[in-house]
Protein backbone atom coordinates (compact mmCIF):
# COMPACT_ATOMS: atom_id res chain seq x y z
CA UNK A 1 0.00 0.00 0.00
CA UNK A 2 2.06 2.93 -1.29
CA UNK A 3 -0.16 5.41 0.54
CA UNK A 4 1.32 4.16 3.81
CA UNK A 5 4.85 3.18 2.81
CA UNK A 6 5.50 6.44 0.96
CA UNK A 7 3.70 8.63 3.46
CA UNK A 8 6.75 9.97 5.27
CA UNK A 9 8.43 10.87 1.97
CA UNK A 10 5.48 12.48 0.22
CA UNK A 11 3.18 14.01 2.82
CA UNK A 12 4.87 17.41 2.76
CA UNK A 13 4.71 17.83 -0.99
CA UNK A 14 1.20 16.32 -1.07
CA UNK A 15 -0.02 18.85 1.47
CA UNK A 16 1.75 21.79 -0.15
CA UNK A 17 0.33 21.11 -3.60
CA UNK A 18 -3.08 20.20 -2.22
CA UNK A 19 -3.26 23.44 -0.23
CA UNK A 20 -2.16 25.43 -3.29
CA UNK A 21 -4.79 23.73 -5.45
CA UNK A 22 -7.55 24.03 -2.84
CA UNK A 23 -6.67 27.68 -2.25
CA UNK A 24 -6.82 28.31 -5.99
CA UNK A 25 -10.21 26.58 -6.29
CA UNK A 26 -11.51 28.38 -3.21
CA UNK A 27 -10.37 31.80 -4.40
CA UNK A 28 -11.08 31.57 -8.13
CA UNK A 29 -14.16 29.38 -8.04
CA UNK A 30 -15.61 29.75 -4.55
CA UNK A 31 -14.98 33.48 -4.19
CA UNK A 32 -14.64 34.50 -7.84
CA UNK A 33 -16.95 32.55 -10.10
CA UNK A 34 -19.53 31.25 -7.63
CA UNK A 35 -20.92 34.67 -6.54
CA UNK A 36 -21.25 35.71 -10.17
CA UNK A 37 -23.02 32.49 -11.11
CA UNK A 38 -25.31 32.86 -8.10
CA UNK A 39 -25.96 36.50 -8.99
CA UNK A 40 -26.83 35.40 -12.53
CA UNK A 41 -29.19 32.71 -11.25
CA UNK A 42 -30.75 35.01 -8.64
CA UNK A 43 -31.12 37.76 -11.24
CA UNK A 44 -32.79 35.34 -13.61
CA UNK A 45 -35.14 34.07 -10.89
CA UNK A 46 -36.01 37.65 -9.92
CA UNK A 47 -36.53 38.54 -13.56
CA UNK A 48 -38.82 35.57 -14.09
CA UNK A 49 -40.79 36.39 -10.95
CA UNK A 50 -41.07 40.05 -12.00
CA UNK A 51 -42.08 39.08 -15.52
CA UNK A 52 -44.75 36.71 -14.20
CA UNK A 53 -46.08 39.39 -11.85
CA UNK A 54 -46.12 41.93 -14.69
CA UNK A 55 -47.89 39.44 -16.96
CA UNK A 56 -50.50 38.80 -14.28
CA UNK A 57 -50.99 42.54 -13.73
CA UNK A 58 -51.26 43.18 -17.47
CA UNK A 59 -53.76 40.36 -17.80
CA UNK A 60 -55.89 41.92 -15.07
CA UNK A 61 -55.66 45.27 -16.80
CA UNK A 62 -56.61 43.71 -20.11
CA UNK A 63 -59.62 42.06 -18.51
CA UNK A 64 -60.67 45.36 -16.99
CA UNK A 65 -60.22 47.17 -20.28
CA UNK A 66 -62.23 44.53 -22.05
CA UNK A 67 -65.03 44.81 -19.53
CA UNK A 68 -65.09 48.58 -19.83
CA UNK A 69 -65.06 48.29 -23.59
CA UNK A 70 -67.89 45.79 -23.51
CA UNK A 71 -69.94 48.07 -21.25
CA UNK A 72 -69.27 50.96 -23.60
CA UNK A 73 -70.24 48.92 -26.61
CA UNK A 74 -73.43 47.77 -24.88
CA UNK A 75 -74.31 51.35 -23.96
CA UNK A 76 -73.63 52.48 -27.52
CA UNK A 77 -75.81 49.65 -28.81
CA UNK A 78 -78.64 50.71 -26.52
CA UNK A 79 -78.30 54.37 -27.53
CA UNK A 80 -78.22 53.37 -31.20
CA UNK A 81 -81.36 51.27 -30.81
CA UNK A 82 -83.30 54.11 -29.18
CA UNK A 83 -82.02 56.53 -31.85
CA UNK A 84 -83.20 54.18 -34.53
CA UNK A 85 -86.63 53.83 -32.91
CA UNK A 86 -86.87 57.60 -32.56
CA UNK A 87 -85.86 58.18 -36.16
CA UNK A 88 -88.31 55.53 -37.30
CA UNK A 89 -91.13 57.14 -35.38
CA UNK A 90 -90.24 60.58 -36.74
CA UNK A 91 -90.02 59.26 -40.28
CA UNK A 92 -93.35 57.47 -39.88
CA UNK A 93 -95.03 60.60 -38.59
CA UNK A 94 -93.54 62.70 -41.37
CA UNK A 95 -94.64 60.18 -43.98
CA UNK A 96 -98.13 60.12 -42.54
CA UNK A 97 -98.26 63.90 -42.60
CA UNK A 98 -97.03 64.06 -46.17
CA UNK A 99 -99.47 61.41 -47.30
CA UNK A 100 -102.32 63.25 -45.65
CA UNK A 101 -101.21 66.52 -47.23
CA UNK A 102 -100.86 64.90 -50.63
CA UNK A 103 -104.31 63.30 -50.21
CA UNK A 104 -105.82 66.70 -49.38
CA UNK A 105 -104.10 68.31 -52.36
CA UNK A 106 -105.23 65.54 -54.65
CA UNK A 107 -108.77 65.82 -53.31
CA UNK A 108 -108.77 69.59 -53.81
CA UNK A 109 -107.40 69.23 -57.33
CA UNK A 110 -109.98 66.62 -58.28
CA UNK A 111 -112.76 68.73 -56.77
CA UNK A 112 -111.61 71.74 -58.78
CA UNK A 113 -111.33 69.61 -61.89
CA UNK A 114 -114.81 68.19 -61.35
CA UNK A 115 -116.20 71.71 -60.83
CA UNK A 116 -114.48 72.92 -64.01
CA UNK A 117 -115.81 69.90 -65.84
CA UNK A 118 -119.33 70.64 -64.61
CA UNK A 119 -119.20 74.31 -65.68
CA UNK A 120 -117.67 73.31 -68.99
CA UNK A 121 -120.41 70.76 -69.51
CA UNK A 122 -123.09 73.32 -68.52
CA UNK A 123 -121.74 75.98 -70.88
CA UNK A 124 -121.38 73.41 -73.62
CA UNK A 125 -124.96 72.34 -73.08
CA UNK A 126 -126.11 75.97 -73.16
CA UNK A 127 -124.21 76.54 -76.35
CA UNK A 128 -125.66 73.36 -77.84
CA UNK A 129 -129.11 74.56 -76.86
CA UNK A 130 -128.45 78.03 -78.38
CA UNK A 131 -127.20 76.44 -81.60
CA UNK A 132 -130.16 74.04 -81.63
CA UNK A 133 -132.59 76.92 -81.10
CA UNK A 134 -131.02 78.85 -83.94
CA UNK A 135 -131.20 75.72 -86.06
CA UNK A 136 -134.86 75.29 -85.13
CA UNK A 137 -135.57 78.89 -86.14
CA UNK A 138 -133.81 78.40 -89.40
CA UNK A 139 -135.53 75.06 -90.13
CA UNK A 140 -138.93 76.42 -89.28
CA UNK A 141 -138.33 79.45 -91.46
CA UNK A 142 -137.20 77.32 -94.38
CA UNK A 143 -139.72 74.53 -94.14
CA UNK A 144 -142.83 76.26 -92.84
CA UNK A 145 -142.01 79.68 -93.92
CA UNK A 146 -143.18 80.99 -90.55
CA UNK A 147 -141.13 82.51 -88.00
CA UNK A 148 -140.51 81.32 -84.54
CA UNK A 149 -139.28 83.59 -81.89
CA UNK A 150 -135.92 82.85 -80.31
CA UNK A 151 -137.58 82.32 -76.95
CA UNK A 152 -140.08 79.77 -78.28
CA UNK A 153 -137.33 77.94 -80.11
CA UNK A 154 -135.23 77.85 -77.00
CA UNK A 155 -138.20 76.54 -74.96
CA UNK A 156 -138.93 73.85 -77.53
CA UNK A 157 -135.29 72.74 -77.59
CA UNK A 158 -135.10 72.71 -73.81
CA UNK A 159 -138.32 70.65 -73.70
CA UNK A 160 -136.83 68.12 -76.11
CA UNK A 161 -133.45 67.87 -74.41
CA UNK A 162 -134.82 67.64 -70.92
Amino acid sequence: MPQLTQLSLVYQSQWLWLLLVLAAIYLFVGRGILPRVEATVDGRDARIAADLAAAERLQGEATQTEEAWRARVNAAHGAGQSEIAKAKAAADAEAQARIAKADAEIAAKSDAAEAALATARASALAEVQGVAAEAVQAIVAKLAGGSVSAEDAAKAVAGVMA
Binding site: M1, P2, Q3, Q6, L7, S8, L9, V10, Y11, Q12, S13, Q14, W15, L16, W17, L18, L19, V21, L22, A24, I25, Y26, F28, V29, G30, R31, I33, L34, R36, V37, E38, A39, T40, V41, G43, R44, R47
Partner: protein
Amino acid sequence: MHQFAITPLGSETLTGSAFQFTNSALWMLIVLGAILLFMWGGMKRQLVPGRWQASVEAITGFVDNITRANIGAEGRKYLPWVLTAFLFILFSNWIGAMPFGIVPAAHPFTVTSQFSITGVLSITSFAIVLVVGFWKHGLHFFTLFVPKDTPFVLKLLIAPIEFVSFMVRPFSLGLRPFVAMFAGHILLDVFGNFVVQGLNSHSVLGYGISGLCFVFVVGVNALELLVGAIQAYVFALLTALYINDAVNLH
Protein backbone atom coordinates in the same frame (compact mmCIF):
# COMPACT_ATOMS: atom_id res chain seq x y z
CA MET B 1 -0.43 -1.19 -6.36
CA HIS B 2 1.71 0.70 -8.85
CA GLN B 3 -1.22 2.91 -9.73
CA PHE B 4 -1.21 4.37 -6.22
CA ALA B 5 2.54 4.99 -6.08
CA ILE B 6 3.75 8.56 -6.08
CA THR B 7 6.74 9.15 -8.33
CA PRO B 8 8.83 12.30 -8.53
CA LEU B 9 8.76 14.30 -11.73
CA GLY B 10 11.93 16.13 -12.72
CA SER B 11 14.10 14.25 -10.23
CA GLU B 12 15.14 10.66 -9.59
CA THR B 13 13.97 9.86 -6.09
CA LEU B 14 11.49 11.09 -3.53
CA THR B 15 13.32 13.42 -1.19
CA GLY B 16 10.62 14.20 1.34
CA SER B 17 10.78 17.88 0.46
CA ALA B 18 7.60 19.95 0.42
CA PHE B 19 8.59 21.51 -2.88
CA GLN B 20 9.11 18.28 -4.78
CA PHE B 21 6.94 18.02 -7.89
CA THR B 22 5.32 14.60 -8.21
CA ASN B 23 2.79 12.89 -10.45
CA SER B 24 0.28 13.48 -7.67
CA ALA B 25 0.96 17.23 -7.80
CA LEU B 26 0.71 17.13 -11.59
CA TRP B 27 -2.72 15.47 -11.46
CA MET B 28 -3.87 17.91 -8.80
CA LEU B 29 -2.95 20.71 -11.20
CA ILE B 30 -4.79 18.90 -14.02
CA VAL B 31 -7.84 18.66 -11.74
CA LEU B 32 -7.48 22.34 -10.93
CA GLY B 33 -7.23 23.22 -14.61
CA ALA B 34 -10.27 21.12 -15.47
CA ILE B 35 -12.30 22.73 -12.67
CA LEU B 36 -11.29 26.25 -13.70
CA LEU B 37 -12.00 25.50 -17.36
CA PHE B 38 -15.40 24.04 -16.55
CA MET B 39 -16.45 26.74 -14.10
CA TRP B 40 -15.27 29.43 -16.52
CA GLY B 41 -18.33 28.48 -18.59
CA GLY B 42 -20.46 29.94 -15.81
CA MET B 43 -18.99 33.38 -16.46
CA LYS B 44 -21.01 33.95 -19.63
CA ARG B 45 -23.82 35.20 -17.39
CA GLN B 46 -26.44 35.03 -20.11
CA LEU B 47 -30.09 35.42 -19.21
CA VAL B 48 -30.89 32.30 -21.20
CA PRO B 49 -28.00 29.94 -20.43
CA GLY B 50 -26.35 27.72 -23.02
CA ARG B 51 -25.55 24.09 -22.24
CA TRP B 52 -22.21 24.85 -20.62
CA GLN B 53 -23.49 27.68 -18.46
CA ALA B 54 -26.53 25.59 -17.55
CA SER B 55 -24.25 22.73 -16.36
CA VAL B 56 -22.22 25.09 -14.20
CA GLU B 57 -25.40 26.57 -12.76
CA ALA B 58 -26.76 23.07 -12.19
CA ILE B 59 -23.68 22.10 -10.15
CA THR B 60 -23.59 25.29 -8.08
CA GLY B 61 -27.34 25.04 -7.63
CA PHE B 62 -27.00 21.41 -6.52
CA VAL B 63 -24.38 22.23 -3.86
CA ASP B 64 -26.28 25.38 -2.91
CA ASN B 65 -29.34 23.19 -2.28
CA ILE B 66 -27.28 20.90 -0.04
CA THR B 67 -26.06 23.77 2.13
CA ARG B 68 -29.40 25.56 2.15
CA ALA B 69 -31.36 22.42 3.03
CA ASN B 70 -29.01 21.43 5.85
CA ILE B 71 -27.75 24.73 7.25
CA GLY B 72 -30.54 27.09 6.29
CA ALA B 73 -30.33 30.62 5.03
CA GLU B 74 -26.86 30.98 6.53
CA GLY B 75 -25.65 28.13 4.35
CA ARG B 76 -24.49 30.44 1.61
CA LYS B 77 -21.62 31.62 3.76
CA TYR B 78 -20.18 28.10 3.78
CA LEU B 79 -20.99 27.36 0.15
CA PRO B 80 -17.53 28.34 -1.20
CA TRP B 81 -15.78 25.68 0.88
CA VAL B 82 -18.43 23.01 0.35
CA LEU B 83 -18.33 23.69 -3.38
CA THR B 84 -14.53 23.63 -3.39
CA ALA B 85 -14.45 20.22 -1.69
CA PHE B 86 -17.27 18.90 -3.87
CA LEU B 87 -15.65 19.97 -7.12
CA PHE B 88 -12.20 18.75 -6.09
CA ILE B 89 -13.44 15.30 -5.08
CA LEU B 90 -15.77 14.98 -8.07
CA PHE B 91 -13.17 15.99 -10.64
CA SER B 92 -10.39 13.95 -9.00
CA ASN B 93 -12.60 10.85 -8.90
CA TRP B 94 -13.76 11.20 -12.48
CA ILE B 95 -10.43 12.20 -13.97
CA GLY B 96 -8.92 9.23 -12.11
CA ALA B 97 -11.49 6.95 -13.73
CA MET B 98 -10.77 8.17 -17.27
CA PRO B 99 -8.83 5.72 -19.45
CA PHE B 100 -5.77 7.94 -19.87
CA GLY B 101 -3.67 4.76 -19.58
CA ILE B 102 -4.23 3.97 -23.26
CA VAL B 103 -2.11 7.01 -24.13
CA PRO B 104 1.52 5.84 -24.25
CA ALA B 105 3.67 7.09 -21.36
CA ALA B 106 0.66 8.61 -19.61
CA HIS B 107 0.20 7.34 -16.09
CA PRO B 108 -3.25 8.17 -14.75
CA PHE B 109 -3.38 8.88 -11.07
CA THR B 110 -6.35 9.31 -8.79
CA VAL B 111 -5.56 12.07 -6.32
CA THR B 112 -8.39 11.08 -4.00
CA SER B 113 -7.02 7.56 -3.62
CA GLN B 114 -4.46 9.08 -1.22
CA PHE B 115 -5.66 9.46 2.36
CA SER B 116 -3.09 12.19 2.82
CA ILE B 117 -5.30 14.18 0.43
CA THR B 118 -8.78 13.24 1.62
CA GLY B 119 -7.56 13.58 5.20
CA VAL B 120 -6.66 17.23 4.65
CA LEU B 121 -10.08 17.83 3.11
CA SER B 122 -11.90 16.27 6.05
CA ILE B 123 -9.71 18.00 8.64
CA THR B 124 -10.42 21.32 6.94
CA SER B 125 -14.15 20.65 7.17
CA PHE B 126 -13.78 19.59 10.79
CA ALA B 127 -11.73 22.67 11.59
CA ILE B 128 -14.45 24.87 10.09
CA VAL B 129 -16.99 23.09 12.30
CA LEU B 130 -14.89 23.69 15.42
CA VAL B 131 -14.08 27.32 14.62
CA VAL B 132 -17.66 28.19 13.71
CA GLY B 133 -19.03 26.27 16.70
CA PHE B 134 -16.81 27.91 19.30
CA TRP B 135 -17.03 31.31 17.59
CA LYS B 136 -20.82 31.35 17.59
CA HIS B 137 -21.61 29.54 20.83
CA GLY B 138 -18.42 29.68 22.90
CA LEU B 139 -18.34 26.93 25.49
CA HIS B 140 -22.06 26.34 24.85
CA PHE B 141 -20.86 24.38 21.86
CA PHE B 142 -20.23 21.47 24.24
CA THR B 143 -23.99 21.15 24.75
CA LEU B 144 -23.88 19.54 21.31
CA PHE B 145 -22.92 16.33 23.13
CA VAL B 146 -25.81 16.50 25.59
CA PRO B 147 -29.21 15.66 24.16
CA LYS B 148 -32.08 17.82 25.37
CA ASP B 149 -34.99 16.52 27.50
CA THR B 150 -33.15 13.40 28.57
CA PRO B 151 -32.92 11.97 32.12
CA PHE B 152 -29.69 12.91 33.84
CA VAL B 153 -28.47 9.32 34.05
CA LEU B 154 -28.92 8.84 30.33
CA LYS B 155 -27.15 12.15 29.70
CA LEU B 156 -24.16 10.81 31.60
CA LEU B 157 -24.09 7.80 29.34
CA ILE B 158 -24.88 9.50 26.06
CA ALA B 159 -22.53 12.49 26.31
CA PRO B 160 -19.31 10.39 26.07
CA ILE B 161 -20.77 8.40 23.17
CA GLU B 162 -21.72 11.61 21.38
CA PHE B 163 -18.26 12.99 22.04
CA VAL B 164 -16.54 9.94 20.60
CA SER B 165 -18.82 9.92 17.55
CA PHE B 166 -18.05 13.60 17.06
CA MET B 167 -14.31 13.02 17.27
CA VAL B 168 -14.53 10.13 14.80
CA ARG B 169 -16.14 12.38 12.19
CA PRO B 170 -12.94 13.67 10.57
CA PHE B 171 -11.65 10.13 10.18
CA SER B 172 -14.83 8.72 8.70
CA LEU B 173 -15.25 11.78 6.51
CA GLY B 174 -11.72 11.52 5.12
CA LEU B 175 -11.53 7.74 4.87
CA ARG B 176 -14.80 7.36 2.99
CA PRO B 177 -13.74 8.92 -0.36
CA PHE B 178 -10.26 7.43 -0.03
CA VAL B 179 -11.56 3.90 0.57
CA ALA B 180 -14.11 4.17 -2.22
CA MET B 181 -11.47 5.15 -4.77
CA PHE B 182 -8.86 2.76 -3.42
CA ALA B 183 -11.19 -0.23 -3.43
CA GLY B 184 -12.68 0.64 -6.80
CA HIS B 185 -9.31 0.94 -8.48
CA ILE B 186 -8.05 -2.28 -6.91
CA LEU B 187 -11.17 -4.02 -8.17
CA LEU B 188 -10.45 -2.69 -11.67
CA ASP B 189 -6.83 -3.80 -11.33
CA VAL B 190 -7.82 -7.32 -10.26
CA PHE B 191 -10.35 -7.82 -13.03
CA GLY B 192 -7.96 -6.30 -15.55
CA ASN B 193 -5.31 -8.80 -14.45
CA PHE B 194 -7.80 -11.63 -14.87
CA VAL B 195 -8.48 -10.49 -18.43
CA VAL B 196 -4.77 -10.59 -19.30
CA GLN B 197 -4.08 -13.87 -17.48
CA GLY B 198 -7.09 -15.50 -19.08
CA LEU B 199 -5.85 -14.50 -22.53
CA ASN B 200 -2.35 -15.76 -21.69
CA SER B 201 -3.67 -19.15 -20.59
CA HIS B 202 -4.52 -20.09 -24.21
CA SER B 203 -7.45 -22.24 -23.06
CA VAL B 204 -11.17 -22.03 -23.75
CA LEU B 205 -11.87 -21.64 -20.04
CA GLY B 206 -9.29 -18.85 -19.85
CA TYR B 207 -10.85 -16.99 -22.78
CA GLY B 208 -14.29 -17.39 -21.20
CA ILE B 209 -13.09 -16.02 -17.88
CA SER B 210 -11.27 -13.27 -19.74
CA GLY B 211 -14.45 -12.20 -21.57
CA LEU B 212 -16.50 -12.35 -18.39
CA CYS B 213 -13.95 -10.25 -16.52
CA PHE B 214 -13.89 -7.72 -19.35
CA VAL B 215 -17.65 -7.28 -18.90
CA PHE B 216 -17.00 -6.87 -15.17
CA VAL B 217 -14.34 -4.24 -15.84
CA VAL B 218 -16.80 -2.25 -17.98
CA GLY B 219 -19.45 -2.55 -15.29
CA VAL B 220 -17.11 -1.63 -12.46
CA ASN B 221 -15.89 1.34 -14.49
CA ALA B 222 -19.45 2.60 -14.82
CA LEU B 223 -19.99 1.96 -11.14
CA GLU B 224 -16.80 3.86 -10.41
CA LEU B 225 -18.18 6.96 -12.12
CA LEU B 226 -21.32 6.67 -10.02
CA VAL B 227 -19.34 6.12 -6.83
CA GLY B 228 -17.09 9.07 -7.67
CA ALA B 229 -20.12 11.37 -7.89
CA ILE B 230 -21.75 9.86 -4.81
CA GLN B 231 -18.59 10.29 -2.72
CA ALA B 232 -18.37 13.95 -3.70
CA TYR B 233 -22.05 14.36 -2.83
CA VAL B 234 -21.65 12.53 0.49
CA PHE B 235 -18.65 14.63 1.44
CA ALA B 236 -20.51 17.85 0.65
CA LEU B 237 -23.65 16.63 2.42
CA LEU B 238 -21.81 15.56 5.59
CA THR B 239 -19.75 18.75 5.65
CA ALA B 240 -22.99 20.73 5.44
CA LEU B 241 -24.58 18.58 8.17
CA TYR B 242 -21.58 19.01 10.49
CA ILE B 243 -21.48 22.76 9.86
CA ASN B 244 -25.19 22.82 10.65
CA ASP B 245 -24.40 21.29 14.07
CA ALA B 246 -21.93 24.08 14.66
CA VAL B 247 -24.22 26.86 13.41
CA ASN B 248 -27.50 25.80 14.97
CA LEU B 249 -26.44 23.29 17.68
CA HIS B 250 -29.44 21.00 18.14
